[in-house]
Symmetry: C2
């Protein structure tokens, strides 16, 4: 059976990562169609040794396409994903447009792969911080239910696109040259600075990134009772997110058991070398498929050994976005 | 009564900040003696419009000196602070050498100024992350005792001295120029990266920075029952630390009450503009005396409104080190 694949938003940071991952994993597609806005349409590009012309995304783009990977922002997804689904295409959407819709599965293949088959034409890819944080938490939660999570993120600028990555590099030079950093993508300087996440802040003080992490985790885990609080922060890192995660379990949870569970967990790699002070770092996570986990420690601030601290890093553009979507698509074509 | 003041470690990052703060605050000294290692001895320096010669630190440096500000590392403090105290000098020591000694007060003037007068010649200045984190927590704890704190830090490189600040600037250029970052001060690259704090990691997995925050908070608060857990991380920021602080209170604690208490708190400035997504940032905190506090939010993951999230930033070299020590010295000369 032939699978014709469309990539929507191919010129973006996640779109470019789709290409690299589809090629690396030899995704079994019969044909590819690369779609973008009219600005990029007509441009030539190479993929897997072949030349392609970027086509403009239109209502008719999905005729004969079985699987579409979308990463072109929420408004593009809202308009075109339902049209693609109507045309018989299955959409894996990286935007937040449909994530909390009851009839749209929200999937991390290491956690809830069966949800993929409940789709009605659209499957949502979770937020990058959600994916990176909860892939290592899931195997622990299955062994001993997590009661409460306190998460603080250290998020790369890539979540705001390649322009944000260019902004960080440009601003760093501006500051070193003695000039003020020119803020175009972000409201605040990102060079040599840290700031609260650039998503909208609700009246309760939580930004959208934080709210996503809470609600998406509940949906993916099929469990609304886990108490979660988050503080989402941008750091001057290019493309991998880090998270400090404090977990409260229902029953006692020994540090050694956490290590054992994570050594067997899919999509996770332990880096926890106390003697050499070597733990996960975003530079090491960049370009990697696995979520790196370390600094696994008993949290003695909770009684009865029910607390564990973790430190995780994951590539925001890969497992946090493109890789997770391609993994979902691999289930679709299996 | 004349106060003769010695500054030990005057060429270091904190030493230089001592000079700036003593001058800005018109510290009421009769005379100054600026001390450093033999490498720097004999060099000329300017302070408050006068020329001084840096003197070599020796056992005889403290004759006739009433107050000495030490920031030359733990081993220098261990050797020379007791000698200074024997010579009748009162030492305010920025190293960790004496902080946990039972007969050495550990002081943040906004919190436990009375402890200053219990000294026996040496007063310890707390760790920078401890100071920056707990100055805003103290007024809340007085109103409603804190049961548990979960802290994740975003620490500037300045905590490792001015060489570390130079390393960050140099590495950023190296990376932008396409070269590998040359690691001299830190074991891991600091440019465009984040890593677990560079202090020694104990067999329980906690690094010394984390352990300091726990034990020093207990000592300063005169309360060993507050449960504290920390994850200490370095970020590519030059000189101000940030901390994400999750607090569990004994009684319900409304967000509005936290705001009211912090508006009146000494040494604290609120920046909490949700509409404009403007919150504390290390760039804004740099060079400032106050700890900036914002992102004050009810943490609904704890029942009964007993949870609060805070985000704080403070200048690591000023309130995190030199300013706090000079404030202590001001009490001594009052």
């Amino acid at each position: 059976m032939p699978f014709n694949v469309a990539v929507v938003g191919v010129t973006g940071a996640v779109g470019q990562e789709f290409l690299s991952i589809l090629e690396q994993r030899s995704f079994p597609a019969e044909s590819y169609r690369f779609l973008a806005s009219s600005r990029s349409a007509g441009k030539q590009m190479e993929f897997a040794g072949r030349q392609y012309t970027i086509e403009e995304l239109t209502e008719k783009s999905f005729a004969g396409v079985e699987v579409a990977l979308f990463s072109a922002g929420g408004s593009v997804s809202k308009k075109f994903a339902p049209l693609a689904a109507q045309a018989g295409c299955t959409v894996v959407d990286n935007s937040s447009a449909f994530r909390m819709d009851a009839d749209v599965p929200l999937v991390i293949p290491e956690i809830n792969p069966d949800d993929i088959y409940r789709h009605h034409g659209i499957i949502a890819n979770p937020n990058c911080s959600t994916i990176i944080g909860i892939v290592p938490v899931w195997p622990l939660h299955q062994a001993n239910p997590v009661r409460r999570m306190v998460v603080s993120t250290y998020q790369a600028v890539s979540g705001a696109g390649w322009q944000a990555m260019e902004e960080l590099k440009r601003q760093v030079r501006e500051v070193l040259d003695g000039n003020d950093p020119d803020c175009r993508v972000f409201q605040h300087p990102c060079a040599f600075n840290v700031f609260s996440h650039d998503s909208k802040v609700a009246p309760d003080g939580y930004n959208v990134e934080e709210t996503k992490m809470i609600h998406e985790t509940h949906k993916i885990f099929h469990n609304n009772s886990i108490a979660i609080t988050c503080t989402c922060i941008r750091v001057p890192v290019l493309r991998a997110h880090s998270e400090s995660i404090n977990l409260e379990f229902t029953e006692p949870m020994e540090e050694e058991r956490v290590v054992d569970l994570l050594l067997q967990a899919p999509g996770v790699r332990l880096i926890d070398d106390r003697d050499n002070n070597y733990f996960p770092m975003p530079l090491d996570a960049s370009g990697q498929d696995d979520i790196l986990v370390g600094r696994i420690r008993q949290d003695e601030s909770l009684p009865g050994k029910r607390g564990i601290n973790l430190w995780v890093c994951g590539d925001q553009l890969r497992k946090g976005a493109a890789l997770n979507a391609v993994q979902i698509a691999e289930y679709l074509v299996k």
